[in-house]
């Protein structure tokens, strides 16, 4: 359905997100650092980006800035995920243009709901069993 960029230096978390997104019918594309993030984004033109904040060699805010300032990418929803609880990090994410912010370990159901909403997809009907 949609192409989603995952920028996450922890390969295991990136893989778990890929599995979840694929199960939702999306196409995940992964970059493990800030530098790769932009080249993958330009090649793949994702509909939404999930950005980790603390990464070696450039943080999620920098990726967000470059997404925002690129004519081909600007305006795509950006969801930040972070294990950091530094004071003010949520506000910084908002300034960087975040559509949503999740603290690790996140509630995956809430995260997927949020992505669905940002992509304008109707929420899943509640399970009736």
């Amino acid at each position: 359905m949609s192409k989603i960029l995952i920028v996450e230096d922890d390969k295991k978390i990136a893989l778990s997100l890929s599995v979840r997104l694929r199960a939702e019918g999306h196409t995940p594309v992964v970059a493990h650092d800030a530098i790769m993030a932009i080249s993958v984004a330009l090649r793949e033109r994702p509909d939404l980006a999930i950005l980790d904040i603390s990464m070696p060699g450039g943080n999620g805010f920098q990726v967000a800035d470059r997404i925002q300032s690129n004519v081909h990418l600007t305006g795509i929803p950006m969801v930040f995920i972070t294990a950091s609880r530094h004071q003010g990090i949520r506000e910084r994410a908002e300034e960087a243009g975040a559509s949503a912010f999740f603290e690790k370990p996140y509630d995956i159901v809430a995260l997927l709901d949020c992505i669905r909403e940002l992509l304008g997809i109707a929420p899943l009907p509640t399970a009736q069993d």
Partner: protein, 397 residues
């Protein structure tokens, strides 16, 4: 005292007085005194500007200038020397005024002698010594303080990286457990599901513990700050109660909610107050046997319309009176083996207390053995919106 040396500056326009002072000072042999003299206020201040003087003997009647003017200039110039005012004809009022303006002492010219001079000089030196000692202590305290602040930042930084390094693998553990549990990696048998659910619950518990640890560190280092906004306490309480009702069901408990009608809005950090509520409610679950009930309530404070009282009441085993004050202490549970079996670090109540107190509120406990325990805390009414509601009421009338 023989090795001690004092550098004295005399500012006096009377050459005779200067000569007299010089003579007396020469007679003081147990202290090494070096003396300079100036005949006018201007010359005196200029000489003082060069520094190096411990004591100034200042004539009150200094030609056109009053000694007070010079005294003020010395004090404003932040010179560290002691000033002794030389007064004529036993003028007590002048002496008192000089002391008010920062003179260390005064000496009547009529009573000038070797002994009186030695006494005031010694006093002045003693004062200087004490002042210097205080200064040194103050410097020492400032350095210690800076050192502690630096260490605090280091500790905080360390906890941040520990927490980051713990949360990242924890996220991966939880996510893959979830993926397998939901059959995204193929079908699983009922027994496998049961065990994976246990693992997932344990991982979640670990996540909460890490969060508590970080909060406790942040409170300890004074870095916990609130993001306050106008909130409906009723909605907040109901939301948390609703989120926790599945857990209540699992524990075989009934969780009820009682919200007073028309409560005013509160000014709180909703996330932090939610954390306090979750803490108190899960504590209540822990200590209440299956089949009984827990009630969460919000009502106006009977003593003040500036506060809302939120209570979490269980019908559990109760807390011994002598323990009721201690349970809010940090790490209480860890140091009391009776409770250690209940799990957790015991940080929850102390964090809750800190959060409530950061809001300016109070938290307390009332408990009766085998009847139950009620935790109460107060949250501040949003005065601005309360005032506008009052205004509306008046308009409606």
């Amino acid at each position: 005292m023989a090795e001690e040396s004092i550098s004295v500056l005399v500012i006096d326009d009377d050459a005779g007085d200067i000569a007299l002072l010089k003579r007396h000072i020469k007679e003081i042999t147990d202290v090494n005194i070096s003396m300079s003299s100036c005949g006018s206020a201007a010359e005196g201040l200029a000489t003082l500007g060069g520094g190096g003087f411990d004591v100034v003997l200042l004539d009150y009647q200094l030609g056109a200038d009053s000694g007070l003017t010079v005294l003020r200039a010395i004090k404003e110039g932040r010179h560290t020397c002691s000033v002794i005012m030389l007064t004529g004809r036993g003028d007590e009022a002048v002496a008192v005024e000089s002391m008010h303006h920062g003179a260390h002492d005064y000496l009547r010219k009529s009573k000038l002698s070797r002994d009186s001079l030695r006494r005031v000089l010694n006093n002045a030196m003693e004062k200087r010594r004490l002042e210097r000692m205080i200064e040194e202590h103050r410097d020492h305290l400032a350095r210690t303080n800076a050192e502690l602040a630096k260490r605090n930042r280091e500790i905080e930084g360390f906890y941040h990286s520990v927490s980051h390094e713990l949360k990242t693998p924890l996220t991966s553990i939880k996510e893959f457990l979830g993926i397998v549990l939901e059959g995204l990696a193929g079908p699983i048998a009922a027994e496998q599901r049961e065990y994976l659910e246990i693992a997932l619950e344990s991982a979640s518990e670990m996540g909460r513990t890490i969060g508590d640890l970080l909060d406790a560190t942040r409170i300890e280092t004074g870095k916990l700050s609130l993001a306050r906004a106008t909130e409906s306490i009723g909605e907040l309480v109901e939301r948390i109660a609703k989120a926790m009702s599945p857990t209540a069901e699992q524990c075989g408990l009934e969780l009820t909610c009682r919200i007073e009608a028309d409560l005013p809005s509160v000014l709180v950090d909703a996330e932090r107050i939610a954390q306090v509520l979750r803490n108190l409610i899960s504590n209540a679950f822990k200590f209440t046997p299956a089949g009984k009930s827990v009630e969460v309530a919000a009502a106006t404070d009977p003593d003040s319309d500036e506060w809302i009282v939120v209570t979490v009441a269980d019908t559990g085993r109760g807390i011994e009176p002598e323990l009721q004050e201690q349970i809010f202490e940090r790490l209480y549970q860890v140091t009391h083996e009776d409770y250690a079996t209940e799990g957790g670090l015991g940080l929850g109540l102390s964090i809750s207390k800190d959060i409530v107190e950061l809001h300016g509120g109070r938290i307390s406990v009332a408990s009766e053995l085998d009847v139950g325990t009620t935790f109460s805390f107060t949250v501040p009414v949003d005065q601005a919106s309360a005032a506008s509601v009052e205004q509306e009421r008046l308009v409606l009338k």
